[in-house]
Amino acid sequence: MTTGKKGFLQSLWDFFCSLKLAISLLISLAITSIIGTIIPQGNIPPEYLQTISETKLRVYQTLGFFDMYHSWWYILLLYLFTVNLIACSIKRLPRVWKIISEPTLIMDDNFERSLANTHEFKMPGDAKGIAEKLKAALRGQASQPVVTERDGAVYLFAQKNPYCRLGVYVTHLSIIFIFVGALIGSFFGYKAFVQIPEGVAADTVYTRTEKPIPLGFAVRCEKFTVSYYNTGAPREFKSVLTILENGKPVPGYVNIPVIVNDPLSYKGITFYQSSYGQAEEGALHHLSVQPRSGGPAVKIMGRTGERIPLPGGGHLVVVEATQNVTQFMPQYAGPAAKVEVTLPGKQPETFIVFRDHPEVEQQRGGSQLIAYEGGDVKLYTGLQVAKDPGVWVVWLGCALMVIGISMAFFMSHDRYWVRIDGGRVVLGGSASKNPAAFQGKFESLVEKIKQL
């Protein structure tokens, strides 16, 4: 005999069916989840790492605290939770299904004593006539009653909302849907990022670990703009995007404005407005050069990093530029550029030139006075790119959860039984939810029957 083994399997099953395990897991999940809200997750800032001790760092790393919601033990808790949920539901569902599909039709004495609400009436007439009258009364409160005759007595049974008993199971099932949806997303989807300068098309996006993902089509950023409230706070970030297949614009996907909270989807891949900045390549800078000795200023121009010939020989390179220097050098305003100037036979010299501060250039003491007149800056748009084929399963799960919880909390399976035995009529009732409210309903039914 394998009673020992069977006993083990049985107790394992009981363990996974137990509500105590469910409560312990819920509380464990609640408590452990706190860790990841205190310790930074994912890309850890180095300043943080310097503030903690060597041992702490090693402990955190071993326990996966820097990515704790994906650590083996957190995932294990979630799996245990899922097994618990499934086992517990499997164990209880048949019993509940039986209550729904094979209701007790006959209220005998024993059953009557187990009911919280009963009332006895004296009614004239024969059992058939009384039954007809009571059927009408019950129909007003619940379903069409089922009539059973046995041993000369007539029994009625009527119920309301039997299926709301499944609400709990719908709720539990919805959690499984959400997990499955999340798993589908993590296996078959991705989250990525791309920066596209204005006028440029991109056909590859990059994950957080810089892994390139080809899109299979291209996205061109036609234009990026920022608008402001009169308080100076940003009002809208807008990219105008066009989708290209084999280099040709796709009809219906041309010049589509994408703003925060209004993304663009194409072939299951969605583009979200996320950030922006100045495109490094492409900006065209304007400068003016005047001999210190006097004479006319000469306008020159060129792109970032290009060698721009100077009128008196030598060349100039714009290393970087900004249209508003105040954010970097609060004492100055207007456009400014860091330039590297190489005069014939001299070492290169790097300095900053402004449009609105000629006095700085005067003080430098070079043979030429250089001013930065500004640039036609191109912006790039930063787009979050996501593909998640599991998201619909997750939404289905969420919908089921809300429906299931509403069924479980706000609906009640009300049942009424009647036994007509001679002139003696007994009404009994019970509800799956909210006994106090049911008592009210039961009493009003009693009043109604008394009026008959």
Binding site: L19, K20, A22, I23, L26, I27, L29, A30, S33, I34, G36, T37, I38, Q41, Y69, A182, K191, Y229, N230, T231, A233, P234, R235, E236, F237, I259, V260, N261, P263, T270, Y272, S274, Q384, V385, A386, D388, V391, V394, W395, C398, M401, V402, I405, S406, F409, A436
Partner: protein
């Protein structure tokens, strides 16, 4: 008339209502209890008008949006939802005395908002320009408010249960004798959480839907998201604990109080102590 004046009147109403409720506890006079409720509801109506007026004022400033966009507005809305949920529970179950333990939460919110928070109407940053903001904030705060009511009821439960075990000294129980019985308080606690849990669930779901719509991820383990999940786990544990024997009564009351403490941390503590995506920043 400005919304700010109306908010001040609201605050005073809640203050008066709380004092009247305390008098109700002392006098046990039914009329006093009724007055306490009526003053609270009057304050709530004025507050409703004030919120609508503030909404209109934001349009007058040229960047209209629902008044749910910063800490001040959310605290005001929270105290509005607390009185609303209290009204629902009172209308349904007729235990007026609960007000003495619930109105103070609403008063605390209003007093803090009016005295300590920046009440300027600011334009919406791009991230908040979405109808999802409305659905998300309303469901979350209605849920929070139901948990606040449950917490007040649980405190009454613990006081009452504590007094019942010290039955040797019945004279001390003059005020507490006004409380509904522990059985009823336990049931009311459960019922409030039955209102709050589906609302919090909807709040989390609408938040996830919004995040997915705005950023392409419905869940990113942001501290605020995680804390809302923690709160949800605690109340799920509460609901399941009730089904097992031995977890009604005191332990359920404590779980409800812990749940509300976690709720408040989720709402305020996360912004004050942790960092994340949500914008109801601490002192701003």
């Amino acid at each position: 008339m400005s919304s700010s004046l109306l908010f001040n009147i609201t605050t005073i109403c809640y203050m008066v209502s709380m004092l009247v409720f305390f008098a109700f506890l002392a006098t046990k006079n039914k009329g006093v209890g009724l007055a306490g409720s009526l003053v609270a509801y009057a304050g709530w109506l004025i507050q409703t008008a004030a919120i609508l007026l503030r909404w209109k004022e934001s349009y007058d400033l040229g960047h209209g949006h629902a008044p749910l966009s910063n800490l001040y507005e959310s605290v005001v809305f929270f105290s509005w939802t607390i009185i609303l949920i209290y009204g629902v529970i009172e209308a349904k179950y007729k235990y007026r005395v609960v007000g003495a333990f619930v109105v103070p939460f609403a008063l605390l919110g209003m007093a803090w908002a009016q005295l300590g928070l920046n009440s300027g109407i600011e334009p919406l940053v791009p991230a908040l320009q979405s109808n999802w903001l409305l659905y998300h904030v309303i469901t979350c705060f209605l849920g929070y408010a139901a948990f606040a009511v449950a917490c007040g009821i649980s405190m009454m439960y613990l006081i009452k249960a504590g007094q019942e075990t010290e039955a040797a000294n019945p004279s001390a129980g003059g005020i507490i004798a006004m409380f509904p019985s522990t059985r009823i308080l336990d049931d009311l606690n459960y019922r409030s959480i039955m209102i709050g849990f589906p609302l919090l669930t909807l709040g989390i779901v609408t938040g996830a839907a919004w995040a997915n719509y705005a950023w392409g991820t419905y869940w990113s383990w942001d501290p605020k998201e995680t804390w809302s999940l923690i709160v949800w786990f605690i109340y799920a544990a509460f609901l399941h604990a009730r089904i097992t024997r031995g977890w009604v009564g005191k332990r359920a009351a404590w779980l409800s109080i812990i749940g509300f403490a976690a709720t408040i941390f989720c709402y305020l503590g996360v912004n004050l102590f942790l960092s994340g995506l949500h914008s109801y920043g601490g002192g701003r």
